[in-house]
């Protein structure tokens, strides 16, 4: 019984063309060339090669899934077709490049690119390209034929190899500074020093070569990760909904949280100075993400001008503390409550006129608000107070006793403390009367009002709370740079924060952390990526919406009713009726 028959060959050809198009795009924007120096497995293949070959792999896999069930031979053939076509399209690009000067239009269509695509063997290398593409296609399709558990394990292992290979430079930087740190260890910790030094040597000399993973260690790691994933996928799935915890689970959870807290406290020491700056940036975005998560994730109010509150927090801190302007000359801690108050008031002021707006209209108006704040900061009119294009310099720094928190590492702890408080507040609010009111407004505003929820107060509360968190991020940011400039308050900040929430999972608090690490840390960690940050964001967002719209770490629902099944029948008045209606 065919409801809709799919022709497998048509699908395969289509997938091949798509794969080719994606690969050509990656080639022409220069990503392939930029990553061609980065070996994943030393001497075997580079990230550049991965970029122009992986599209065939992925599309062959998805095609196999789409046309299933097919005989194994057909699936493999479809993969082959997809791979051949995908690489043929790229071969076409190389040939075209020989005839026409593509560089006039595509600056990256350089001889270097063609050399990479032909594996450095000129035109005969095109055959190699076709061969590699077909292998990719066949392997991608065949992986789908494996039992699901095995297939998922293989894919995960491949992904890890890719990641570990990419991170080679980082890991070696980090481990190198461990060795330096051990020199400062006291004598009685000498054994730890030896341990750390040999671990570092092991990682740098045995696992990694001067570039990328060593082939043998890549194979061993592949098998280890694959086996681990295979074991993990075999375990029963953990329910997504969490319930009241048993004593043992509670202990586990406390230990787990304690472990995570300890890890975060030690993180700057483990990673070294090089990463402190990146960690601070991540912290900044986590703070803003937690705030916007309340506005967008909980209350469903799409705010595209979120950077405004961040700017107001930063500028308020500047105006209140900078001796250059000389209005108040407060210290950081004295100024903090006033700066936060200013952002809350701004949140309410923005909230008031847009109470009646929904959806798209709300997004446009908030967008405008963000721009207005930026333009005001930039304007000549407010220059005497806000410094115009020059911004504000010599902003007060936070101190504890006589210690000035001015290094990136010190500020990391300031961020950590702020995040701890803000995450706690967000977590508590989520399961409170107010949190439910926010969610009700998100789901259906009219009905929420008919449930006795005052939409004015509730929405303003969401805006004010969101503004407060963002303002806090702004004040710490100002203290971190000792200065604020209008150009750091641009629209892209709002978009970044929104993207990280979407990628992490709307309304999910751990999702904010995951999203911030993926979006903010990852491009900083891989320098080659920095240039393609927004291309990668866009691709990631599209891919996420197609395959995992709920985000990387979606919101968990608490089990509330389950409680009674455990025999804890609550005291108090008996239930009005016990039988079910309609009996």
């Amino acid at each position: 019984m065919h409801t809709k028959s799919i022709s497998p060959w048509k699908e395969a050809v289509q997938a091949g063309l798509i794969a080719g198009a994606i690969a050509v795009l990656l080639n022409l924007v220069g990503m392939t060339t930029a990553f061609s120096g980065r070996y994943i497995v030393s001497g075997w293949f580079t990230m550049g090669q991965v970029l122009f070959l992986v599209p065939m792999f992925i599309l062959a896999y998805t095609t196999a899934r789409k046309i299933a069930p097919q005989p194994a031979m057909h699936t493999a053939l479809a993969g082959l077709v997809c791979g051949v076509i995908g690489s043929a399209v790229q071969a076409g690009l190389v040939l075209l490049g020989q005839v026409v000067n593509l560089r006039a239009m595509f600056i990256n269509a350089s001889p270097q690119l063609f050399e990479i695509l032909t594996f450095g063997r000129d035109l005969p290398g095109l055959l190699l390209l076709l061969l590699a593409g077909s292998i990719m296609g066949v392997v991608g399709a065949v992986i789908f034929l494996l039992p699901e558990r095995l297939a998922k394990s293989v894919l995960q292992a491949l992904l890890w190899i890719l990641l570990l290979g990419l991170l080679r430079d980082l890991v070696s930087t980090v481990t190198a500074q461990w060795v330096i740190k051990t020199k400062a260890f006291p004598d009685w910790l000498g054994w730890a020093g030896v341990l750390i030094t040999s671990l570092s040597t092991f990682i740098n000399k045995t696992i990694y070569s001067a570039s990328g993973l060593k082939p043998l260690s890549a194979i061993v790691l592949f098998l280890l990760v694959g086996a681990w994933a295979y074991w993990r996928y075999g375990r029963p799935k953990r329910a997504r909904i969490t319930g009241p915890l048993t004593r043992r689970q509670q202990t586990q959870r406390v230990l787990g949280l304690g472990g995570i807290a300890l890890l975060f406290i030690l993180l700057p020491s483990i990673l070294g100075i090089f990463f402190a700056e990146i960690l601070d940036n991540v912290g900044l975005y986590i703070l803003m993400g937690l705030g916007l998560n309340i506005v967008v994730g909980f209350a469903g109010l799409l705010d595209l001008g979120y950077v405004a509150f961040y700017a107001i927090g930063a500028y308020a801190m500047g105006v209140l503390t900078s001796p250059e302007l000389g209005f108040f000359n407060l210290t950081f801690w004295e100024a903090l409550p006033f700066a936060l108050l200013a952002t809350v008031i701004a949140g309410v002021i923005l909230g008031l006129p847009i109470l009646k707006m929904r959806g798209d209209y709300l997004a446009i108006v908030t967008l405008g608000f963000g721009e207005i704040v930026r333009l005001l900061a930039l304007s000549d009119w407010l220059r005497p107070w806000l410094g115009g294009t020059q911004g504000i310099q010599r902003i007060g720094q936070p101190t504890i006793g006589s210690i000035i928190l001015d290094s990136q590492q010190d500020l990391y702890y300031l961020f950590l403390a702020a995040i701890g408080i803000v995450a706690f507040i967000a977590w508590r609010l989520k399961d409170s009367r107010i949190g439910r009111a926010w969610m009700a407004i998100r789901e259906d505003e009219d009905v929420a009002m008919a449930m006795g929820i005052n939409h004015v107060a509730t929405k303003l509360l969401a805006f004010a709370t969101g503004a407060l968190f963002s303002g806090l991020a702004g004040t710490i940011f100002a203290a971190k740079l000792h200065s604020v400039y209008p150009h750091s308050m641009n629209f892209l900040v709002s978009i970044n924060v929104l993207s990280l929430i979407i990628i992490g999972g709307m309304g999910s608090i751990p999702g904010v952390f995951v999203g911030a690490f993926v979006l903010i840390a990852a491009p900083d960690l891989l320098r080659e990526f920095a240039e393609y940050r927004y291309l990668a964001y866009g691709a990631l967002l599209v891919a996420m919406m197609l395959t995992r719209p709920e985000g990387l770490w979606p919101e968990e629902r608490r089990r509330l009713e389950l409680h009674e099944e455990e025999g804890e029948v609550p005291l108090g008045e008996p239930p009005p009726v016990l039988n079910t209606p309609g009996g």
Partner: protein
């Protein structure tokens, strides 16, 4: 008996169209009363005026001694009027229990600060509300469904959840907009039984809009008939079944002559 709801010369216009014109209506305490009428007669508009979604152009609505005219929906709910919707409007991405907890919003107290600090009183309030929600779930026959997402409930249970959510606000008057729409005969029978229990066991006065004549005639103590925004008849089920104007409104003027048949049509 006291009047729970009184509307006096209630008029609502949309541009040139008079959706409700000078409607007088009284609902007695502890009664079950229905509003019927052909499509577009103004039944749901009447509900929207009572619950504060629309502001009437003329006339007044009283709930006991409170004047509801022009109040916002949340104020009306806080006074003790709850409603359901013709097309079910649950908070789809929240769990069943959470839906009911939202319904309890008006008589819970915890604000932002209490929500963050979660002090003893707030914890107790949450605990008690949760217990009440569970009792309510048992009452409406949704025991064990509490942790499902509302959108994953079957249709009939969504209707019940919507009523449970309305009941959670501890209303004195409940407005039900076509509670049996889309239900099969046995589900409809259950719903009729259930509505009676709401009145008998919880003491809630009920005003409902209904299209299924069998339900209306079976359940109502008083029926009000609207047609083109006007009240054309009011009386007990027996009186309404005999009323020529009602039969005209439903079946057209010509049909009113063959009265015998139409009576049976209205009786369902």
């Amino acid at each position: 008996m006291a009047e729970v709801l009184v509307s006096k010369k209630l008029t609502k216009r949309f541009g040139g169209l008079e959706a409700l014109s000078r409607i007088d209506l009284e609902v007695q305490e502890n009664s079950i009363q229905s509003i019927i009428g052909p499509n577009g007669a103004g039944k749901t508009t009447f509900f929207n005026c009572v619950t504060g979604f629309y502001t009437p152009e003329e006339g007044e609505i009283f709930f006991y001694t409170h004047n509801l005219t022009g109040l916002s929906p949340d104020r009306v709910t806080k006074l003790g009027v709850a409603r359901t919707y013709q097309n079910i409007r649950l908070f789809k991405n929240m769990t069943v229990v959470e839906n009911i907890l939202v319904g309890m919003h008006p008589h819970m107290k915890a604000g932002l600060i209490q929500g963050i600090l979660r002090d003893r009183a707030t914890r107790r309030e949450e605990q008690e509300s949760l217990e009440e929600a569970r009792r309510l779930l048992r009452f409406v026959g949704l025991r064990g469904r509490g942790d499902m997402m509302a959108m994953n409930l079957p249709y009939g249970e969504q209707r019940r959840l919507e009523i449970a959510r309305a009941v959670a606000s501890r209303p004195k008057l409940l407005l039900l907009d076509e509670p049996t729409a889309g239900m099969n005969p046995s589900e409809t029978q259950d719903m009729v039984h259930f509505i009676r229990r709401l009145r008998d066991e919880l003491g809630i006065t009920i005003l409902l809009i209904e299209h299924q004549m069998r339900v209306v005639m079976n359940i109502s103590e008083l029926i009000t008939v609207l047609d083109f925004g006007e009240k054309i008849a009011e009386g007990t089920p027996a009186q309404i079944q005999k009323d020529t104007r009602v039969i005209e409104a439903y079946l057209g003027r010509g049909a009113a002559s063959g009265l015998g048949q139409q009576q049976s049509a209205l009786a369902g």
